[in-house]
């Protein structure tokens, strides 16, 4: 807009142009923000609001869900069966998070510090299968562990026994969750190890004598942010998962995700399903707040 700049006789050239520019710009950036924001508010936020509203609704005699102002759905959730199922899901998700941390940390450590020029190739070798079909990978496990799968036929072949029933056990479901989400732990831990100054480890070895003490006093605190972030990224999807329990487990290992899915696609009690969804989100949000508070105070104390 050359004309704009021409109509400024007598203005101080140092002061005016930046302000004009920033005004023009803010309008452009604001315009850019408007459409995607409207899209996300229109779809995502609005749909979340509908879930909350319907959780206070009821199912009509003809099976149609209608909005209402009853808390009956939440009261229905407050019983031993559902509470037990919720605690089970929580237990599976916590176990998944801890196992992921125990496996992911050494893997990220070995690659970041000893990967040399193969670092990127190794990380890519982890990332590629993880982002390629979650469903097929879960299927792969169920095929491997099924009664007629390779593992069981190997056991039968060696006369060790009549085979082991892997599927329908909590181990299979938790194993599936770890397999499904561990990449979300490896990447942030790897990134924080990469950013770390390795000479710190050197100094730690001189100071503390011994790799274990060095690790606990130097390496672990330096990569705390990555580890905590990774734990959150694993925990969130693990708690809401239903594919692992569906393919590798059974009714005795169902998680809250299976229950929600049943209400919407099999049981057709949408208001109850909405109440379950809202309860899960509230629990997740509370856990996240406590978690973030706890980890940030600990980080502050350490500084």
């Amino acid at each position: 807009m050359a004309t704009d700049q021409a109509v400024r006789p007598g203005a101080q050239p140092e002061a005016r142009p930046p302000r004009r520019r920033s005004g023009q710009r803010t309008r452009l950036w604001g315009t850019l923000l408007a459409l995607p924001t409207a899209w996300i508010v229109g779809f995502f936020v609005a749909s979340m609001v509908i879930v909350v509203l319907l959780s206070f609704g009821r199912t009509q005699a003809d099976g149609k869900p209608v909005f209402g102002r009853t808390t009956a759905n939440y009261e229905a959730l407050w019983n031993d069966v559902y509470l037990q199922l919720f605690l089970r899901s929580l237990g599976y998700a916590v176990a998944t998070t801890l196992i992921c941390a125990l496996i992911a940390y050494p893997v990220a450590y070995a690659i970041a510090l000893y990967g040399g020029r193969y670092k990127n190739v190794l990380i890519a070798a982890i990332v590629v299968p993880f982002f390629a079909s979650y469903l097929i990978r879960m299927y792969a496990w169920s095929a491997l562990l099924s009664d007629e799968g390779i593992v069981n036929s190997a056991i039968k072949g060696t006369d060790l026994g009549d085979g082991v029933q892997f599927l329908n056990t909590p181990y299979a479901v938790i194993g599936g969750l770890v397999y499904g989400y561990i990449v979300f732990m490896i990447l942030p831990v790897y990134a924080s190890l990469e950013r770390m100054d390795v000479s710190l480890i050197e100094a730690g070895k001189d100071l503390y004598h011994g790799p274990l003490r060095t690790f606990l006093a130097v390496t672990l605190p330096a990569t705390r942010a990555g580890l905590f972030g990774g734990m959150l990224l694993v925990f969130l999807p693990a708690l809401g998962d239903f594919v692992s329990a569906q393919l590798l487990g059974g009714p005795s290992t169902y998680m809250i995700g299976n229950l929600i899915q049943q209400q919407f696609l099999e049981g057709q009690n949408w208001p109850l399903g909405s109440a379950m969804t809202v309860s899960m989100m509230v629990a997740l949000t509370l856990l996240m707040i406590f978690y973030l508070r706890g980890t940030s105070t600990r980080a502050r104390e350490l500084q």
Binding site: T26, L32, T37, S47, I50, V107, F131, G149, V198
Partner: protein, 277 residues
């Protein structure tokens, strides 16, 4: 500094890493191997055969599902690329309080468990009396993918020198011209990478598609899921192998793209956002 550090590798960490890679690839290798089995068994390999693949290519329902999934992924990739880039540019420049609030809201789909997004989308479309179809799947997938694009593009923007755009403005460009002629071309590798990644993610996505799809045609992952529930079979192994191979190819391409443009850039820039300025 590195010579002393490497003197003794932590044997435990290296062992765990080797075992981890074995654990990661074993089930996948089994799926691929048994997709070429000439008999129906999932535990003994009798001989090489491509019969399960030819079954797949002659199954019209599966082919319809495949093309539905390709269509959904293409539309979602293009639309979320446009919306996500607009959002990233806006968020990068609007540093006010409201800008940050918008940033937080738009990242919510990333931290929400997918089942919640799925349920919410199902209720939303039903509430609007929209018939569930491929269109509803597309709308849900676009909404979900915007955040991915935004995160990737913002990472790239953070690594960019703001003075380049300043220079274009000094040379008489309007803000929009500076954006179109300077900033966007610099973003091209990141945009292509993000597009490929979103395409692969949406093509494979099961949960959102499961909640928002109509009866016919169904996206491929939904179709596969319903056949898995009736038990494992070599035919699913063949479809699974094809899906894995196709997605792996897309993701490798997405990771390698930045290298075509800048020889020194790492293939992981797409995920880590590259070095910060």
């Amino acid at each position: 500094m590195s010579t002393r550090r490497v003197e003794r590798r932590p044997a435990a960490a290296v062992t765990i890493t080797v075992l981890f890679f074995a654990w990661l690839y074993l089930p996948i290798a089994a799926v691929v191997l048994f997709s070429f089995n000439s008999v129906k068994s999932l535990s003994t390999f009798e001989g090489f055969s491509t019969r399960w693949y030819s079954d797949f290519f002659h199954d019209s329902t599966l082919i319809t599902s495949l093309s539905a999934s390709l269509l959904i992924a293409s539309v979602a990739a293009v639309a979320s690329l446009v919306l996500g880039t607009m959002l990233a540019l806006g968020l990068d420049r609007v540093r006010s309080r409201s800008g940050r609030a918008v940033g937080a809201v738009t990242l919510m789909p990333l931290v929400t468990p997918e089942i919640v997004t799925g349920v919410a989308a199902l209720l939303f479309f039903t509430g609007l009396s929209m018939k569930l179809s491929l269109v509803t799947v597309m709308l849900a997938e676009i909404t979900f993918s915007i955040a991915y694009v935004t995160v990737i593009v913002r990472g790239r923007l953070a690594a960019m020198d703001p003075q380049v755009e300043e220079a274009a403005r000094d040379l008489g460009c309007t803000p929009f011209q500076a954006l179109r002629k300077v900033t966007l071309p610099t973003l091209v590798p990141a945009l292509l990478g993000a597009g490929l990644l979103v395409f692969a993610l949406v093509f494979d996505d099961f949960v959102l598609a499961f909640f928002t799809t109509g009866v016919d045609p169904q996206p491929l992952p939904v179709r596969i899921y319903s056949s898995i529930r009736f038990g494992v079979s070599p035919a699913i192994n063949a479809v699974g192998t094809l899906m894995l191979a196709f997605s792996a190819l897309l993701i490798v391409a997405a990771l390698l793209l930045p290298r075509l443009f800048h020889r020194r850039s790492s293939s992981l820039d797409l995920i880590t956002g590259g070095e910060r300025r």
